[in-house]
Structure formats: structure tokens, C-alpha cells
Amino acid sequence: MEERIKRVYIPMTETGFYILFCLQEEMHGYNVGKKVKEMTDGEIVISPGTMYGSLSKMEKDGLIEFVREAEKRKIYRITELGRQILALEQKRIERLYRNSKGESYHGK
């Protein structure tokens, strides 16, 4: 994995994390936004400009790929590189979470 990609995406913004997480299933941008809203009890709203920009950037960097267009909406899914980044991020967050609870956890 390129160092640049790691530097840009780890640690990830909350928006970035949820988008990548949701795209483990094929989905278009608006549905990603809706799902994130549900998952976070309405607390995290990803606005269209931010959604559009994040998807374009992640596509350009090869974390997600365009699958097909359905009724003018672009459907994306995660790539192998995206999965690797997501896994690294999940481990980091898990460590952060465990340590924040005062449990000793050094897992990488």
C-alpha cells in the first residue's frame, strides 16, 4: 500500500469512515447518507457537497470504484485497497476504544 494513501486516510474523518464502511455494500451517495443517519441516530449528517467530494476523492485514490449508473445515480463499492484501509482504521479505533475504557490493549 502506498504511503501517501495511508497518510491521507489514516486516521480517517468520521464522514470518510462511514462512507467507506457503508460501501462494503453497493450503494449510491444519497443512500450512504441515509444509512449513516440511521446508524448514528440522526447525529451524523453528510451533506451533498461533502458526499460528492468524498466519493470523487475516494474513487480517484482507488478506495472505491464506480459500479454502474441507475436512474442518474452513480453506484459505488469498496475496492481491495479500500478494504485494507478500512481494516487498519477499524483496528485503530478498536485500540482507541479499549484504551479509553482503561483496558490494557496493545493490539495492532
Binding site: T13, T15, G29, Y30, G33, V45, I46, S47, P48, G49, T50, M51, Y52, G53, S54, E69, E71, K72, R73, K74
Partner: protein
């Protein structure tokens, strides 16, 4: 047709898009709905019921093939697309019974700063380049070229006017870029 119309001109510079949004919001609340922008700074309004409708401008020039899905995304989020002008896309949405976070087109500081960067690279840099080329080609000619003193003075006068105009634009936008970036960064820390 039918509805009464009015034209109005109001100049907003590259970094004044938030002021422009507020201007259009105010007009709509006064009962004047934006019909079209014919040139940057030239607006046509149509009489309507006064309403709380927010306007948002996005600067995100795409390839023609991308435009449809871009607009569809905004439509899904409940934004009505008005038009494009100078690569700014104009959107609006009724504010009534809508949560505040759904009246924004950006939800984090990063994406707001990204838009500033796009404006800087695609609008501000070309302006600076044109200015630099103009100065480099005209100045030597004026200072050392074989022209009569009357012509020289005339051309120097024109150049002085252009320089003053450019300096004003650069200062205005430079300060604008700086302040917006600072504001977005601060928002992030809160």
C-alpha cells in the same frame, strides 16, 4: 410569464459567495424569487409569496458526463437546482420544517476548504497569470519601446488603472480566502 419581474445588479467577488447566498435569501423573504442570473452580478427576480428559502452556491466544475449524477445527488437531498453561472451552481431549499444541518451543502470543514481551494486554483490563479503576462509584455514596451511620449503617457494611464483594479481584486479576494479558511477551521474545533 404573468408574474412581475425585476432586474437587479449586485457585484460579488470570488470569495463573496456566502454574501451572495444571503442576498438571494433576503430577496426571497421579501417576495422576490431568483429567476436567473444572466451574467455574474446580474439577477432577474420574479414576484412571489415571501418565503424562507435558503440559497447555496457550490463551486465544483465537472466533466459534462458527471453533471447529471451531481445534480441528482443534490435533488435527492431536497435541493432545487436553479442554474450554473461562472462554474458556480445555484441551489435552493425551503427552510420551513427542515433541520438546520440539512440547510447546508457541506457538513465538515474539510469539504468547505476543498471548495475554497478549487476556487483559488481555477479562478484566482488564472487571473494572476493573466495579470503577470500582461505586465511582462506591456511594461518593457512602454518603458523602452519606440513610442511618442503622448502615447506612452496614455498607455501608462491605462496600465495604472488596470494595476489599481487588480490590486483591489487581489487584496479583496486574498483577505476573503484567508478569512473564510480561518472561519472554517475554527468551526472544526468547536
Amino acid at each position: 410569464m404573468g408574474n412581475k419581474r425585476k432586474k437587479e445588479s449586485h457585484l460579488f467577488m470570488l470569495t463573496d459567495y456566502e454574501k451572495e447566498e444571503e442576498f438571494l435569501h433576503r430577496r426571497h423573504r421579501e417576495g422576490w424569487r431568483l429567476l436567473k442570473v444572466t451574467l455574474p452580478g446580474f439577477y432577474t427576480f420574479e414576484k412571489c409569496e415571501p418565503e424562507d428559502v435558503v440559497y447555496r452556491l457550490d463551486f465544483n466544475p465537472q466533466n459534462p458526463g458527471e453533471k447529471q449524477s451531481y445534480l441528482q445527488m443534490y435533488a435527492d437531498y431536497g435541493w432545487e437546482y436553479v442554474q450554473d453561472m461562472n462554474d458556480y451552481s445555484y441551489f435552493r431549499k425551503k427552510a420551513e420544517q427542515v433541520e438546520e444541518n440539512e440547510l447546508e451543502i457541506f457538513s465538515d470543514a474539510e469539504s468547505r476548504i476543498e471548495m475554497l481551494k478549487r476556487i483559488f486554483v481555477k479562478r484566482m490563479l488564472p487571473l494572476m497569470l493573466i495579470f503577470a503576462v500582461y505586465m511582462m509584455t506591456q511594461l518593457p514596451y512602454l518603458l523602452f519601446g519606440n513610442v511618442s511620449s503622448g502615447v506612452r503617457e496614455g498607455l501608462l494611464g491605462v496600465m495604472a488603472a488596470i494595476v489599481i483594479l487588480y490590486v483591489y481584486i487581489f487584496l479583496h479576494c486574498g483577505i476573503g480566502f484567508y478569512q473564510l479558511k480561518k472561519k472554517y477551521r475554527r468551526g472544526k474545533e468547536l
